[in-house]
C-alpha cells in the first residue's frame, strides 16, 4: 500500500494554543485559518454589515493572540475567541450608533440583498431581512442578545458567557429586545405604515 497518502493528523486546539503561547507564528496561522470563518460569521451576523467585518475579525484575533497567556484552558480557544468577536462586534455597533448620532457616519441601512446566500429559501430571506431592518434601531447589546438567542439558538448561559455578562443581564436584555421587536412589527403592520 505504498501509494496510500496519509492525511496529516489534525492538531488539536490545545496543542496549537500552547505553541502559540510560546510565540510560534505557524501555530497562530493555523488557529487563524481554523477559525477565521467562524469569527467572520459571528461578526457579519451580529452587525449585518460586511464593511465592518475585516476590522472586527482582525482586532479580535490580535486581541486573542495578545491575551493567550490569560487563557487558562488552551482547548477552550474556540469559545474564548467567539466571546472576543462578540464583544468587539458590540463595541463596533455602539461606536457606529454614536458616530451616526453625532452626524459623523452615514447611517447606512443594512445591506439586505447581501445578507443571505443564494440558496436561502424565499420565506427565510423575507424574515431575515425584516428582522435585520428592525434591529438597526436597537441598542447594540439588545440586538446581539436577541440574535444569539432567537437565531443562533444559544442557551441563556451560553449568551452570558459569549457576551461577558451575567445571566440576569442577558434575561433583562432579551425581554427588552423581544418587546421592542414586537412593538416594531405591531407598529409597522398598521395601515399607512411601511
Amino acid at each position: 500500500m505504498d501509494n496510500v497518502v496519509r492525511l496529516q493528523d489534525r492538531v488539536d486546539d490545545g496543542e496549537l494554543v500552547q505553541r502559540a503561547q510560546r510565540g510560534d507564528l505557524d501555530a497562530k496561522r493555523q488557529l487563524f485559518q481554523r477559525y477565521v470563518a467562524l469569527a467572520s460569521a459571528i461578526a457579519f451576523r451580529l452587525t449585518g454589515h460586511d464593511s465592518d467585518l475585516e476590522d472586527i475579525v482582525q482586532d479580535s484575533f490580535i486581541a486573542a493572540f495578545a491575551g493567550l497567556d490569560r487563557l487558562a484552558e488552551p482547548a477552550a480557544f474556540r469559545g474564548w475567541l467567539a466571546s472576543i468577536v462578540t464583544r468587539t462586534a458590540i463595541a463596533t455597533l455602539r461606536k457606529r450608533k454614536l458616530l451616526s448620532r453625532l452626524g459623523l457616519l452615514r447611517r447606512e441601512p443594512v445591506q439586505l440583498e447581501l445578507l443571505t446566500g443564494p440558496g436561502a429559501p424565499a420565506d427565510v430571506v423575507t424574515e431575515l431581512r425584516a428582522v435585520y431592518a428592525a434591529l438597526e434601531s436597537f441598542p447594540a447589546e439588545e440586538r446581539v442578545t436577541l440574535l444569539l438567542r432567537r437565531y443562533d439558538q444559544l442557551s441563556l448561559e451560553q449568551i452570558a458567557e459569549q457576551t461577558g455578562t451575567s445571566l440576569a443581564t442577558v434575561k433583562r436584555r432579551l425581554v427588552r429586545a423581544e418587546a421592542r421587536l414586537h412593538k416594531h412589527f405591531a407598529t409597522s403592520d398598521k395601515p399607512g405604515k411601511p
Binding site: F61, I62, F65, G67, R94, T116
Partner: protein, 340 residues
C-alpha cells in the same frame, strides 16, 4: 456545515470570504505579531507585491503645491518618505519642516514619517484627517471610502475636528471620507482662502506644480469643536499641560456637548500619564463616566483603578468591579498590576 434539513435561518446569513480576503486579514494579524522594525519591512514588501511594482524616481523632494499623479517614491522636507501607487492623486498642501499636510483624492499612499515633536503631519481625504506622529502607515482612498492601516507608531483619524479613532501598530480603520450634512448648532467648517503662488517652478516626472495653496484664516467665536481641535493639536505637539487645560475648558464651557465626555476622558489620561496628577484625573473621570458614550467606558474604568492606586486611595472595589464587568478585557493585566 449543518445538513440542509437542519439549517437554521441564520445559517443563510454568511459573509463572502475568498482566499484573498482571508489572506488580507491574516497579513494584518501577522503584522501585529512582529517586532516593529520587521513589521514595517513586511508591510512595505507586502504592499509592493500587492501593488505590482513601485516605480522609483530619483527621490526628488516635494514642496508645497506639488501634485503627485503617478506611482512614485519621494522625500519631504521634514525627512519623511512617501510612496504612491499607480493611479493615485495626491496634492501637497503644505510641505514645511514644521507642518506637512497632504490631500489624497484617490489611490494608495504609504508613508514613513520622521519623528519630530513640534511638527504637525496630516493626510486629508475628503472631510477626514489622519494625524500622525513618527509612524509608518498606509492610506487608501477608493471612491468615497478610506482605509488607514498602521504599521508603526500612532495615528489619529479625525472627521473634521472630532477624533474617530486612535490607531497604533497593527490596527486599521475604514469608513467614509465625507461627513454627512449635520444639523448642528455650530459649523465644523474652518474658513479657507485661496492664495496664488507667485512663481511656478519646473515639474518633475510624476508630480507637477500646482498654482494655488490654501491658508487658514483665524476663526471667529470659539466653539466646542474648535476647542477640541486646539486641545488635540496641543496633545499631538507634546504640550500636555496646554492640552489638559483646553480639554478642561471644553468640558467646563460646553458640559452638554457630545464632545465633553471624550474631552474629560482625554484630560484624565493626560493628567495621569503625562502630568502625574491622579486627583485631577479622578475628577475628570467622574465626569467622563457620567457623560461618556459607552465605547470609552471600559478604558475610563481601567484608568480609574490606576488613578485611585496612584492617588493612594482604596482601589480594590474599582478593580474588582472592572475585573467582574470585563473578564476578558485586554486591560485586565494592567488593571490587576496597578492595584495588586
Amino acid at each position: 456545515m449543518r445538513p440542509a434539513a437542519k439549517r437554521r435561518p441564520i445559517d443563510h446569513v454568511t459573509p463572502r470570504l475568498g482566499n484573498e480576503r482571508v489572506e488580507r486579514m491574516w497579513s494584518v494579524v501577522e503584522q501585529a505579531q512582529q517586532p516593529s522594525r520587521r513589521r514595517w519591512m513586511y508591510v512595505a514588501a507586502a504592499a509592493a507585491i500587492a501593488l505590482g511594482v513601485w516605480r522609483t524616481w530619483p527621490s526628488p523632494a516635494l514642496t508645497s503645491g506639488d501634485v503627485v499623479s503617478a506611482a512614485t517614491a519621494v522625500s519631504l522636507p521634514d525627512g519623511s518618505e512617501l510612496r504612491t501607487a499607480e493611479a493615485t492623486e495626491l496634492r501637497v498642501v503644505h510641505a514645511e519642516p514644521e507642518e506637512v499636510e497632504l490631500a489624497l483624492t484617490q489611490g494608495r499612499l504609504q508613508l514613513d514619517v520622521s519623528h519630530r515633536t513640534r511638527r504637525r503631519f496630516a493626510v486629508r481625504v475628503g472631510d477626514l484627517t489622519v494625524l500622525v506622529r513618527g509612524t509608518a502607515f498606509t492610506v487608501e482612498a477608493k471612491a468615497q471610502d478610506v482605509r488607514v492601516q498602521v504599521a508603526r507608531g500612532l495615528v489619529e483619524v479625525r472627521m473634521r475636528q472630532v477624533v474617530l479613532a486612535s490607531l497604533s501598530a497593527g490596527q486599521s480603520w475604514s469608513g467614509p471620507a465625507v461627513a454627512p450634512p449635520v444639523e448642528a448648532e455650530e459649523s465644523f467648517e474652518e474658513p479657507v482662502q485661496a492664495v496664488a503662488t507667485p512663481e511656478p517652478t519646473p515639474s518633475t516626472p510624476g508630480h507637477e506644480r500646482r498654482p494655488a495653496r490654501r491658508v487658514r484664516e483665524k476663526p471667529a467665536p470659539e466653539t466646542a469643536a474648535m476647542l477640541l481641535e486646539r486641545a488635540n493639536d496641543a496633545r499631538l505637539a507634546g504640550d500636555a499641560r496646554a492640552a489638559a487645560d483646553l480639554y478642561q475648558e471644553l468640558r467646563t464651557r460646553f458640559p452638554r456637548d457630545p464632545r465633553a465626555g471624550l474631552s474629560a476622558f482625554e484630560l484624565a489620561r493626560i493628567s495621569l500619564h503625562a502630568l502625574h496628577d491622579p486627583q485631577r484625573a479622578l475628577a475628570a473621570l467622574q465626569f467622563a463616566l457620567a457623560h461618556g458614550h459607552g465605547f470609552a467606558r471600559e478604558d475610563a474604568e481601567a484608568l480609574e483603578v490606576e488613578a485611585l492606586a496612584l492617588a493612594k486611595q482604596d482601589c480594590g472595589a474599582a478593580r474588582d468591579r472592572f475585573l467582574g464587568a470585563y473578564p476578558n478585557s485586554a486591560q485586565r493585566t494592567r488593571v490587576a498590576r496597578a492595584c495588586p
